[in-house]
């Protein structure tokens, strides 16, 4: 019975030529908690033993007692109730229904016993129901129930999904981005409130979330580490140790899965790299790289940030950081030192201010940046740039204000630590803003949304500033200031007859694909960023580029354009129209009648 159904499903989901991913492989992923979760019902039963026994005993004593009490039958002659009748009376008395004295009016002795029965049974039921309610309120029981619920939801996932460990700032940003891309994900976070936040978020998918420690491989297992549809694991917690543990667990238990881990410590990064080939994102490092790129090639930086920002991003402003002169850096911790090294590598001089800095080092002012004397020693008047890079938002904001008072022309970069302060930093209008979570989220998006985007972003810096500026202009001209969608298109001759014929002619031009299906003289609001053919990559291929079977394209543009391209590739008549301008009837009969046969369109 399941055979044909499965075959149908395979066709629908993967197309005729492709094979579904192999499901046979059993990974050695532990799932002990899952087994524990299924035992929730046993917990209920075990705790309900004594209450239930109490109820049974009370019923038994009441029933048997009632049969022994002397009574009278309808004629008034002495009689005793049978077990059946007394069970009936006790049943409706104990459940407080109370039909009255059945089958015959009771004697006073029976009434006395029924009074006892009433009180006994009320106590019995109160105890039983009370125990049940306490059990439902019980923390461990609720957790067991949540675990069971989560396990079932994850096990039922059939679409590819991402496993996100850590649902803090970074996790939430990623969640929103992937949800808007229509990607399913599963969340694991140690903090209960973060998982509760999942319910408040208006995701299109039902996102399974579990409050559990991601360091435990068992928890990763029930969150879908061993699931065939798991695509990648993201270790995005604030704790580097946890991220390292997740990276290790994935490398050892599912070596085939890609891992993206966040860390701010080079040591941890080094240890992560010892396990397989994880993608490690160090936001401090990345910000330094971005700043260097922004100094050297503002347009390239602008293009990369725009594409990395995800669907619906506005064109960021092209900053003009000063490329010569001296920078003043407040906060010389891990972030400050990294940034100073990057700036020095670009040929800039840096003066760092930090109360805990080593006084023997060159260009270092020891002291608190909010102290005017310390500021004066750093000589802001002669500086061109200022970075407020401490890990305290209030300090950073006041530092910016102080620095601007001394020298209003400074290029100001600020570090924002808490998402709640976003409005304050926005009002302060720094020239560059570092939000750690954002840096990581962008990087992960670029890496995971489609492999072509990642490839494109790798190629961009080598193309030069001029090219990037032209590219930004072109994107703006075609699609406006907002980058709505980025999507990959795969051209397969097997996907439809028309596409097969078209690709087979050898004159399939890329430009034709980007014509509007309604009016072929109008181009679609879309730009092809990348063409992948085998292992070759062509950046921004021209309209005359010839397309072949198996080519992959990365297109940026309006959602309307995406639907148009999909229609063109799916509907025979539309493709004929955009390529040749002839309206081909869409039904087979009309095509035969009007003389348009296959040969004519193959011309």
């Amino acid at each position: 019975m399941a055979g044909p159904l499965r075959a149908f499903w395979r066709l629908v989901a993967y197309g005729p030529g492709e094979r579904p991913p192999r499901r046979r492989i059993r990974w050695r992923v532990p799932a002990e908690s899952a087994a524990q979760a299924s035992a929730t019902i046993f917990l209920v039963l075990r705790r309900m033993r004594w209450p239930l026994i109490t109820v049974i005993v009370i019923f038994a004593v009441s029933t048997i007692g009632l049969t022994f009490i002397p009574g009278r039958d309808a004629d008034g002659s002495p009689d005793r109730m049978s077990i059946f009748h007394s069970f009936y009376v006790v049943s409706y008395t104990a459940t407080t229904i109370g039909f009255g004295e059945l089958p015959d009016p009771f004697t006073d002795a029976q009434r006395l016993w029924v009074t006892v029965t009433i009180y006994l049974s009320v106590v019995g039921w109160a105890y039983t129901i009370g125990s049940l309610l306490t059990l439902l309120q019980d923390r461990s029981f609720r957790r067991a129930l949540a675990l069971q619920h989560f396990t079932r939801k994850v096990a039922r996932l059939r679409e590819p999904f991402l496993l996100i460990a850590g649902y803090g700032q970074t996790g939430r940003r990623l969640g929103r981005t992937f949800d808007s891309l229509g990607r399913q994900f599963v969340v694991l976070d140690a903090a209960e409130e973060n998982i509760e936040a999942l319910d408040l978020e208006a995701y299109r998918f039902d996102v399974p979330g579990l409050a559990a420690d991601a360091r435990n491989p068992d928890h990763l297992g029930i969150a879908g580490l061993g699931h065939f549809a798991c695509e990648a694991v993201l270790a995005m917690t604030n704790d580097d140790e946890v991220n390292l543990a997740v990276t290790m667990a994935v490398a050892l238990l599912r070596p085939d899965l890609p891992v993206i881990a966040r860390t701010v410590s080079p040591d941890i990064e080094h240890r992560m790299r010892a396990f397989g080939t994880p993608t490690v994102v160090n936001p401090f490092d990345r910000f330094g790289d971005h700043l260097r790129l922004a100094l050297r090639a503002p347009a390239t930086y602008q293009l990369i940030t725009w594409l990395e920002s995800g669907p619906g991003a506005e064109l960021p402003e092209r900053g003009r950081p000063p490329t010569q002169g001296r920078w003043v850096l407040c906060g010389y911790g891990r972030f400050g030192q990294k940034l100073a090294a990057d700036l020095r590598a670009e040929g800039l001089t840096v003066t760092a201010i930090d109360p805990a800095a080593d006084p023997d080092e060159d260009d270092v002012v020891v002291g608190d940046g909010s102290d005017p004397d310390v500021m004066a020693r750093a000589d802001l008047d002669g500086a061109v740039g200022f970075v407020a890079g401490t890990d305290n938002d209030t300090t950073n904001l006041s530092l910016i204000a102080a620095a601007r008072r001394v020298n209003p022309d400074l290029f100001v970069a600020a570090r924002q630590n808490r998402p709640a302060n976003a409005a304050l930093f926005e009002a302060m209008e720094p020239d560059a803003l570092l939000v750690l979570a954002e840096v990581v989220a962008k990087e992960v998006y670029a890496k995971l949304s489609t492999p072509l985007l990642w490839r494109f972003l790798q190629e961009v810096p080598d193309q030069g500033e001029e090219w990037a500026a032209r590219m930004v202009d072109r994107l703006c001209g075609r699609c406006g200031q907002q980058l709505r969608t980025l999507w990959p298109v795969r051209l397969r001759a097997a996907s439809s007859l028309a596409v097969g014929r078209w690709l087979g002619t050898g004159t399939a031009r890329l430009g034709d694909l980007l014509r509007s299906p309604h009016d072929r003289d109008r181009p679609l609001a879309a730009v092809v960023l990348l063409l992948k053919r085998g292992d070759e990559f062509v950046l921004t291929p021209g309209d005359d580029t010839e397309l072949r079977d198996g080519d992959e394209l990365l297109i940026a543009g309006e959602p309307v354009a995406r639907r148009a391209v999909d229609t063109t590739l799916l509907v025979d008549g539309v493709l004929d129209y955009v390529v040749s301008g002839r309206s081909v009837p869409s039904s087979w009969i009309w095509r035969k009648l009007s003389g348009h046969s296959r040969s004519s369109s193959q011309r």
Partner: protein, 128 residues
């Protein structure tokens, strides 16, 4: 000595003995099968069943299954008795008694399995 085990063993054995007491005697003679004994057997069997709740071992599962079978048979016997004694016009005839007692006989078998399991569990526990 574990008090829980004592209580458990007590109820399992008592359920079997009461059941046996009701079952023994001429199959169709109502006089040798006391209905109070049937009542006690039902109650004790129910208690034994509840005591077996929540045991996740394999032997615990079989224990629970046998108890449920005994409950089912005994409750069927009780309903049969109520029907024969109160609803049927013929009253508690020999045929009806035979039906009730044979149902309780089935329950007795399940109870014997329960006792055997109890013995097996005890023996295997001591060997370890």
């Amino acid at each position: 000595m574990n008090l829980e085990k004592v209580v458990f063993g007590f109820f399992v054995v008592l359920a079997a003995t009461l059941n046996f007491g009701f079952f023994i005697g001429d199959l169709s003679d109502p006089d040798v099968h006391n209905v109070y004994e049937l009542f006690a057997a039902v109650v004790i069997n129910l208690i034994a069943t509840v005591l077996k709740f929540g045991d996740r071992t394999q032997i615990g599962a079989v224990h629970l299954a046998t108890s449920l079978v005994a409950d089912l048979q005994l409750i069927a016997a009780a309903i049969f008795w109520a029907y024969a004694a109160h609803i049927s016009s013929a009253g508690l005839t020999g045929e009806a008694t035979a039906g009730i007692v044979s149902l309780s006989g089935g329950a007795l078998f399940a109870n014997i399995v329960s006792v055997v399991l109890l013995v097996i569990e005890t023996v295997s526990f001591q060997r370890r």
